[in-house]
């Protein structure tokens, strides 16, 4: 990139804890630290990837950015303005700029509402166009996601998974946002449909000058979509790097473990994976985050200090940050 791009979203030490109530009196016995001290930034026009398995907190993070959850601590800046409070006091302004496409298209559309009624909601809420222009606008939205205009009257049960997801994308775009969060947009779809939806998303990214936060657990997909990415484990970021560096020279042991577990379909693909690091154990529950470095029970390279002290996210080379006692 020639000129320095401005950042569109910055997130600083974001926390989202959910209280756990135990015993009869329902006292708070602890917290689920779904998101714990997350900081990163997304540049304008970038596709920033967020990778994580279950319990990593990636979806919670997305909802916290959108204002669906109220952050327990930390700050969020959007286009240079701090929005952590605004988003709850005057939500509509932010909601017009930042939207989300959900994971499971089947349940992200109201089964009792036709496509037209679903797409009308954002138009009405944000007064995008006059009443009489609505049908036209909806037809235009459908065209943008490559669906014929007469699909307006269909109900979600009449659409295939890919088509439902296109409607979900159309709904997110209806408010004319500048920033789109995509939470596993193709995980529930067949592989032959995934490519089409991803191509559509990349196309729209170009045409409409959008910035994306792309969340997925599918690393092969991420390789082809994101320009920069971060990997999360139990609510904390382990590594942030440019995509190429991430795959070619991963530093964090969790990253290496993840990369060597990727299912691939050819020998030549196998060659792209780093040295085999057999995965051990499973992701612990976010209620019982291990002390010190949260990854240490599964880490082949752990030492004493790892069970006591949580490492900080440190920049190891330009743009490449790692949270590990050894690699930094």
């Amino acid at each position: 990139m020639s000129e320095p791009s401005e950042t569109i979203l910055v997130c600083e030490k974001l926390n989202k804890y959910f209280p756990v109530h135990g015993d009869l009196l329902r006292r708070r016995v602890g917290d689920i630290k779904a998101v714990d001290g997350v900081s990163f930034s997304v540049s304008k026009g970038e596709i920033f990837g967020l990778v994580g398995e279950s319990g990593s907190g990636k979806s919670t993070l997305a909802y916290a950015l959108l204002g669906i959850h109220r952050p327990t601590a930390g700050k969020i800046w959007f286009r240079g303005e701090e929005i952590s409070e605004t988003i709850h006091r005057i939500p509509k302004i932010i909601k017009k700029e930042m939207q989300i496409v959900f994971q499971d298209p089947g349940s992200s559309l109201n089964p009792r509402r036709s496509v037209k009624q679903t797409l009308e909601v954002p138009l009405k809420v944000h007064n995008i166009c006059k009443n009489r222009d609505r049908s036209e606008k909806i037809a235009a939205l459908l065209e943008m996601v490559e669906l014929p205009a007469d699909y307006m009257d269909k109900y979600p049960s009449e659409l295939s998974g890919g088509q439902q997801q296109r409607v979900g994308i159309a709904r997110a775009l209806a408010v004319e946002p500048s920033f789109l969060i995509l939470d596993e947009p193709t995980s529930a779809l067949d592989v032959s449909v995934q490519g089409k939806i991803i191509s559509l998303l990349l196309d729209l990214h170009q045409k409409l000058n959008l910035s994306y936060l792309f969340i997925t657990h599918d690393l092969s997909l991420m390789r082809n979509v994101a320009s920069r990415l971060a990997i999360m484990y139990l609510g904390r970021i382990c590594e942030i790097a440019l995509t190429s560096e991430f795959f070619e020279a991963p530093l964090h042991p969790y990253t290496q473990m993840l990369l060597s577990s990727i299912p691939v379909i050819s020998d030549e693909e196998e060659a792209f994976k780093p040295a085999k690091m057999a995965s051990e154990g499973e992701v612990p529950s976010p209620v019982n985050v291990p002390p010190g470095c949260s990854f240490h029970p599964r880490c082949p390279a752990k030492t004493d200090v790892c069970s006591r002290e949580d490492p900080r996210l440190v920049e190891v080379s330009k743009g490449h940050l790692v949270r590990c006692h050894f690699r930094s």
Binding site: Y63, L66, G67, I68, P91, K92, K95, K96, Q99, I100, F102, Q103, D104, S107, S108, L109, N110, P111, R112, R113, V121, P122, V125, H126, D150, M152, D153, G168, R171, V175
Partner: protein, 295 residues
């Protein structure tokens, strides 16, 4: 283009109706229920025109013709005052249906709105307030509550309806609460929240359409039961008063004359059974239609 669209939509609605009819009609009992209910509704609405002796439904005495057994002139016989039983039963249907319709018209909106609000704000103070109130009403034995109200105020049809309404609304609140609180966590609600829609829209335009099927099914099944409760109240003298031809009070009046003048009690009793059965069968059929399809 719009013309085509409307025709297309109309055709789809028609196809949808045909498909639901297909599923409904697979169970012949449901058809029986539908026929029963249609017959009752027809008779109730057109009672003055289909009854052979419409005047007998009100103040009328004709002692020479009293207590006549069923005959061609009076298929259901006559009662103690010489009034034609058939006509009185027809008019009785009217009051029964009226009771059912009025009670449901009061109870369903109130219960559903409360359930929606409590369900959507699940876990908050409003939820607790509403649902605990519901629990209180449910804890009181229903008929006792109705009896209490009717005894305190003048016994008449209107008060009976109020009493039954008071004991009925909690069921709709609970039903809607269950659905609303489960739908609340679904993605499509979060999506609409993310868009910035206001609470009114979310409750009534997004969640409510998802509750309609179970509510409608329950309404149909409830009709029969509400009518039965109304008849029970009249039976003990707390509902409609003489000379209003209420099925329950007719059964009560005739009970003293069993088994000799059996027709005075038995025909109204059968009429009650007919109504309740009809609505139950119809309700079952409707529930089948709304049930999830397999394969």
């Amino acid at each position: 283009m719009p013309g085509n669209l409307y025709r297309h939509v109309f055709f789809k609605r028609w196809k949808y109706i045909r498909k639901q009819w297909y599923r409904f009609s697979r169970n012949s009992l449901s058809i029986v229920g539908l026929i029963f209910v249609c017959a009752i509704a027809f008779v109730a609405i057109f009672a003055p025109y289909v009854s052979p002796y419409p005047k007998h439904a009100g103040r009328y005495v004709n002692f020479p013709e009293a207590s006549l057994p069923p005959s061609l002139a009076h298929p259901f016989g006559t009662d103690l005052f010489g009034r034609d039983m058939l006509s009185r039963v027809f008019f009785g249907f009217r009051f029964s249906l009226l009771m059912g319709v009025v009670v449901l018209a009061l109870v369903v909106p109130a219960g559903v709105i409360l359930g929606l609000v409590a369900g959507y704000f699940h876990g908050s103070l409003i939820d607790t307030l509403i649902m605990r109130t519901t629990d209180v009403f449910l804890a009181v034995p229903p008929l006792i509550l109705a009896l209490a109200i009717c005894s305190v105020f003048t016994p008449n049809l209107f008060n009976a309806m109020v009493a039954v309404s008071l004991m009925w609304w909690p069921w709709y609140a609970r039903l809607t609460y269950g659905i609303a609180s489960s739908k609340k966590g679904e993605f499509f609600i979060q999506a609409v929240e993310a868009i910035g829609a206001n609470k009114f829209h979310i409750l009534f335009r997004e969640i409510l359409p998802n509750c309609i099927s179970p509510i409608f099914t329950k309404m149909t099944l409830d009709m029969g039961f509400v009518i039965l409760i109304g008849a029970s109240l009249s039976f003990v003298g707390l509902g409609a008063q003489a000379p209003t031809p209420d099925l329950g009070s007719m059964v009560a009046d005739g009970s003293r004359y069993l088994p000799d003048q059996w027709w005075i009690s038995v025909f109204p009793a059968f009429a009650i059974v007919f109504v309740v059965l009809g609505f139950n069968l119809l309700g079952d059929g409707i529930r089948d239609v709304f049930a999830v399809e397999g394969v």
